[in-house]
């Protein structure tokens, strides 16, 4: 396995609110290899943004890390002082934000906004930083960059502004780039351009990317691995092929089933019934039970552990237990499985032999302690 740049171990974060403790994420573990793109997929409130905010040390004040650690370059990010975090942010870990229309300071020239992290972290003079900013503007595809160095954000379109946001994130060559739904606010043609841009830049710079999205269509094009989050937990994680063509968790089935493809013939848009659980009073057992028509009796009592299918593929569902009855996934998922099995004849065998593993071992490849 390639060198790991980031490891998240058993992270659990609560939010104190007036109505009580909200368990935003519970026991999330994953790692990130050098040069890899990990997509975190999930619906609103599933904890994907909280996870990445904690990596940046940008959690809201009422957030409390219950336990867990985030290891970056041998140090636990959660233990760092605000000053140390400032040195990290924008320099070694950078972030692309969701809405380019509101992410740029409307009163500052864009050249200066792009140059700011360099002035802060590399202690460059304004002039030298602006020169690099100009190069970066060219690299992210802003046409005629020289003429726009002193322009203000309102003089740019949404797509161009997102390129500027990307330039800000990349200017100090971060090792980890967190892209928080970077294409959600853009229209489809611009989305494709921005996705390509992120992909190209990543390949050129060999930085690792955590790509947060709720759009599975976007994931297929950019990610190496996919983590599916639900109610503050990773319910399934695997390579893009494994998640898209050999999904195991009923929630992943639901997500894939609700995504229309060119083969969709029925004219009916599938959806997952119900709403995500209330994280103020999280349900006992598997959080997805109430919406899961494949739920077993044990789902209501015990949270399923991770079952390992392949060195990279893990899913937290009792359906993989030896004692579970054989269920038939939705038609669309069956079609996907068939395609996968044709390429990977051993897949069904692996599924049958899927073993229960502990969280830490499963998701970070570390020996459990």
């Amino acid at each position: 396995m390639a060198e790991k740049v980031l490891t998240v171990d058993n992270l659990k974060i609560n939010f104190h609110t007036d109505s009580g403790e909200v368990q935003a994420i519970g026991d999330v573990s994953f790692d990130l290899a050098k040069g890899e793109t990990l997509a975190i997929v999930g619906e609103s409130g599933s904890g994907k943004s909280v996870t990445t905010r904690s990596i940046m040390g940008l959690l809201a004040k009422n957030a409390q890390v219950d336990h867990g650690q985030i290891t970056f370059k041998g140090q636990n990010i959660l233990d760092l002082s605000e000053k140390q975090l400032q040195d990290l942010r924008g320099s070694e870990i950078a972030m692309i934000f969701q809405d380019p229309m509101t992410s740029l300071d409307p009163t500052m020239k864009i050249g200066q906004q792009i140059a700011e992290p360099l002035i802060k972290h590399q202690k460059l003079s304004k002039q030298a930083a602006l020169e690099q900013a100009l190069e970066m503007m060219k690299a992210v595809g802003i046409p005629n960059a020289e003429a726009h160095l002193n322009d203000y954000p309102h003089q740019f379109s949404g797509g161009m502004r997102q390129r500027i946001v990307i330039a800000i994130a990349l200017i100090d060559h971060p090792e980890i780039l967190i892209a928080d739904e970077p294409t959600t606010a853009l229209d489809v043609t611009i989305q494709a351009q921005i996705l390509n841009l992120i992909k190209n830049i990543q390949q050129a710079s060999a930085s690792s990317v955590i790509f947060i999205t709720h759009d599975l269509g976007v994931v297929a094009g950019v990610a190496d691995r996919v983590a599916v989050m639900y109610a503050g937990q990773i319910v399934e994680i695997g390579t893009v092929d494994e998640i898209f063509y050999f999904p195991q968790h009923p929630y992943t089935w639901g997500l894939l089933n609700s995504m229309p493809t060119v083969e969709t013939r029925t004219g009916v848009l599938e959806s997952i019934p119900g709403t995500p659980p209330d994280l103020l009073n999280p349900p006992v057992g598997d959080a997805f039970t109430a919406r899961n028509k494949y739920a077993l009796a044990i789902d209501e009592q015990r949270q399923p552990p991770y079952f390992q299918l392949s060195p990279t593929h893990f899913a937290a569902t009792w359906l993989l237990d030896d004692r579970a009855p054989e269920v038939t996934p939705p038609m669309e998922i069956q079609r996907r499985w068939q395609r996968y099995i044709k390429k990977h004849p051993e897949a069904l065998e692996q599924r049958a032999q899927a073993k229960e593993v502990s969280t830490t071992l499963a998701l970070t490849g570390k020996e459990d302690m």
């Binding site: 990290l88 942010r89 924008g90 969701q98 509101t102 992410s103 409307p106 009163t107 700011e116 802060k120």
Partner: protein, 306 residues
């Protein structure tokens, strides 16, 4: 920009004519006569004096004469001070008033921005609550009350600063504070609200993600964005200061234009009333024009096109 300013200056001249007209007729509706001891003068004497000042002519003719003279920058001579041209009278007294007004607004707005920003950054702490209470007090307590308190405690009891008069910078401090307290409170409250909102915006989060420290974020990003709406308030605040200064000038016996304005109204000194009104209106309109230009300087999105 130049074209815009020129256009605005044109509008100012037009507005002034409207103000002159309205004031002129309102002034003539006031009871009383400019003659200080009218009851002791015979009818003939009164008519003679009125003829000398052109007060015997029909109202519309007086109005027209005044307007034509005013457009030639001739504002007549005072009734009260024999033979003193209005322009000289005002010129002698505008200095202290303008100085006081400018000092008060600069002090009020800058201190207000500082306190408001401090409150916003320390939101929901004791500092914030204390500053909010101060701001409410500053807005609700009239400036003449503050003036009296300052005179009593700082002037009389502590003997730190002169109580009244106008003989140097030390004399300007107490009136400046008294007059500047209201703009201070208003801007502090305004900046706090605005800054709390700005601090929650996406571009501040991006600034944090860049690794900037809190003070860098406040100075480089939050403050400027919070200032934009405050600029709108400075116009109306300037009005408050000018009217407020009339009272403050009386309390601190400052030889400003305010006391003269009140005097001229009490004695029906028509030319001085008109002249002072014109000066006040001019100052106001210039402040508003400056406000609009500053707006564009702070916020590039509304930078004025040529």
């Amino acid at each position: 920009m130049f074209k815009y300013v020129m256009k605005r200056l044109g509008i100012i001249v037009f507005t002034l004519i409207l103000i002159i007209s309205a004031t002129f007729f309102l002034m003539k509706l006031m009871p009383g006569s400019p003659l200080a001891n009218a009851e002791r003068l015979s009818g003939d004497q009164q008519r003679l004096i009125e003829a000398q000042y052109g007060l015997d002519k029909p109202l519309l003719v007086q109005y027209w004469n005044y307007l034509v003279n005013a457009l030639h920058l001739d504002f007549g001579t005072s009734f009260q001070f024999q033979g003193q041209p209005v322009s000289t009278l005002i010129a002698q007294r505008i200095g202290p008033s303008a100085q006081l007004g400018i000092q008060a607004i600069v002090f009020g707005v800058i201190a207000g921005i500082g306190l408001g920003a401090a409150a916003a950054v320390r939101r929901n702490t004791k500092t914030d609550t204390a500053l909010s209470i101060l701001a409410v007090l500053g807005i609700s307590v009239p400036s003449f009350v503050v003036a009296a308190l300052l005179q009593y405690y700082i002037g009389l009891k502590l003997d730190w600063l002169p109580i009244a008069g106008w003989e140097g910078f030390a004399y300007t401090i107490l009136p400046t504070i008294a007059l500047g307290l209201q703009p201070l409170a208003i801007s502090a409250r305004f900046i706090r609200t605005e800054m709390v909102e700005v601090m929650g915006s996406d571009y501040i989060e991006l600034a944090r993600a860049k690794g900037l420290s809190r003070s860098e974020i406040v100075w480089k990003h939050a403050l400027r964005n919070s200032l934009i709406p405050l600029v709108t308030l400075i116009g109306p605040m300037a009005v408050n200061l000018m009217t407020g200064s009339i009272v403050i000038e009386q309390i601190f016996t400052i030889p400003g234009i305010g006391s003269q304005f009140v005097n001229s109204i009490l004695t029906n000194d028509y030319p001085v009333i008109m002249g002072t009104t014109i000066v006040y209106s001019m100052m106001l309109m210039v402040v508003l024009l400056i406000t609009d230009v500053v707006y564009g300087l702070i916020d590039p999105r509304i930078r004025l096109a040529d």
